[in-house]
């Protein structure tokens, strides 16, 4: 279902819409998944230069966490730019406050230059779809982690680094809702669902933050 809104599906417009009408969502979703794999495979074969899976995972994770603070990643996936214009674009975003170290920016630049170049196919999978393929729901860390207890002192820094841009200093709210004394802090199910999988304009953090880090942030928020 999630893939229904993706550019992958737009690419298969007529076929998929017909499928949806006649055979319903299940078939459409299945076709989307299949088509997604086909497109991803085609995209990877068409990449300029080689991106190792580990590099791709790092770049996708960074794009998802850092670029999506200001804009959704669909804006990135629709670009088809030569290396020089990608370089200028990434530099501009760094100048404007994108939270990337020099090495991280280089990793992002290498990925977008290889993937979204002028000769790339019109339709490519979304960043979120690629993340889901590379690191299935919950991220690779999930299996190794049992129940975790948050540590508020660690959560403060993690919050400032990952959440503050939208939820404001001191969790007082901003583009995103105020989290200090927010009732969601008392509803573990809703809190974890929202952080791991996103909600509305909020991106999913499951592939970016470990469960321990999320628990730390929760512990800190509870003190606000």
């Amino acid at each position: 279902m999630e893939r229904m809104g993706s550019p992958v599906c737009h690419g298969g417009g007529m076929t998929l819409r017909t499928a949806k009408k006649t055979s319903g969502f299940v078939l459409a979703a299945w076709l989307c998944t299949l088509l997604g794999w086909v497109v991803i495979t085609a995209a990877q074969e068409d990449d300029r230069g080689t991106i190792q899976p580990a590099q791709a995972r790092q770049a996708l994770t960074l794009i998802h966490a850092r670029c999506a603070v200001c804009h959704t990643t669909d804006l990135i996936v629709q670009q088809r730019l030569p290396a020089d214009r990608w370089t200028v674009t990434v530099e501009k975003m760094m100048h404007w406050g994108a939270d990337l170290s020099k090495d991280e920016a280089a990793a992002v630049l290498q990925f977008v230059t290889a993937r979204y170049h002028p000769g790339a196919p019109d339709h490519l999978p979304s960043i979120e779809e690629e993340l889901a393929m590379i690191a299935p729901a919950g991220g690779p860390r999930q299996g190794s982690e049992g129940p975790v207890t948050g540590v508020a002192s660690r959560g403060a820094g993690l919050y400032a680094h990952n959440c503050q841009a939208c939820h404001g200093e001191g969790a007082a709210g901003g583009a995103g809702p105020k989290l200090a004394r927010n009732t969601i802090l008392k509803n573990d199910g809703a809190f974890w669902e929202t952080v791991l999988h996103g909600r509305g304009p909020m991106p999913a953090w499951g592939a970016v933050l470990s469960h321990q880090e999320i628990a730390d942030i929760h512990a800190w928020l509870a003190t606000r």
């Binding site: 417009g13 603070v69 200001c70 669909d74 730019l81 002028p118 901003g174 304009p201």
Partner: protein, 393 residues
Amino acid sequence: MTVFRREWLRTVLQGIGIGMVVGPGIPSIASAQASEAGQGTGPLTVRVTRPFDAETPVREFASWLTPNERFFTRSHFGPPPADSVKPDAWRLTVKGLVKEELTLNLKDLQQLEAVTLTAVLQCSGNGRAHHRPKVPGVQWERGAVGNAQWTGVRLRDVLQQAGVKPQGVHVQFQGADRPALATVPLFTRSIPLAKALHPDTLLAYEMNGRPLPLLHGAPLRVITPGWMAESCMKWLTEITVRVDETPGYYMQQAYRIPETAVRLSSGLPGSAMVPVEQMPVKSLIAAPAEGDTVRIGPVTIQGVAWAGEAPVVKVEVSCDDGKTWEQARLLGEGQPYAWRQWQFVWNARTPGPTAILCRATDAQGQEQPATSPWNPGGFLWNGWDRLSVTVAA
């Protein structure tokens, strides 16, 4: 997650025109749009989810006015919180090189003479996706444009109330929208005083007879008829009269084009960069649609055409991929700044695939070119509109 995204889309779509204007009376329309828009088959084709940048499918341009909920939407940071622009909380300040600073609420403004005009609003980047080589930015295709009726007061009347000092030659606009990060420059723009004092330049509080929807700049936006939409500041809160053009990214770097055409693929501007202002002459085919199959016999082709501050005088149509052209019929009365509907009845005789093209000419003799001059920002695309159809026996 899908459910959450739908809910969010619904909120956004209500912001376009339904929620704020009509209230919760017709949620079914909004929710139907929400489920459709996410798939690009509904009233709007979403290019960027946040900030919400979405264009109108060209079939909607079969109607003269573009409805609010089907009007394209674009901003750099998304709308400000709805509470901050509610009429009781919102204020407009007029400052800078003026004799008397003003702070006005909506009622104060509405004491001035109300003016209504119909004008095309178009994003400078409309058609960016057609530029080759490709350029960065939202990859708009054909629908980041619309024609609406705007009601408001003359900016000139407000400026006269404040009294512009002789040194004041540029008028700067600031809206209430803010970036997620304080390190991102604000979207601040200015227009020359002459355009600001033009009697048709408005501070609009109504769109198609309804209060401005949140996504379209509630409660007040600038309308600079004939000029591209980046001058039409939404969520307006500050007017500052200045001695110079506004400094900063969105005036000095973005929304500028080379004064003379640049060599294709050079990657660099070849001349001085000047601000985007007037819209160039342009036309679109609203029907038939891309990929349609039409029957042999008479086929009605219809569309719209507009130009900046000059009226459109001619629209030509080619049904053989540009080999021959015939003149279309202009419908209704021409109105300054509004688009003109046109129609052409094509007698389709030869079965098989073909391309339908259209091009317009304005009163200054400017003709829509086959492709627009390339520029690094991908602005002002006005190449011939083209769609593929198949004639079936």
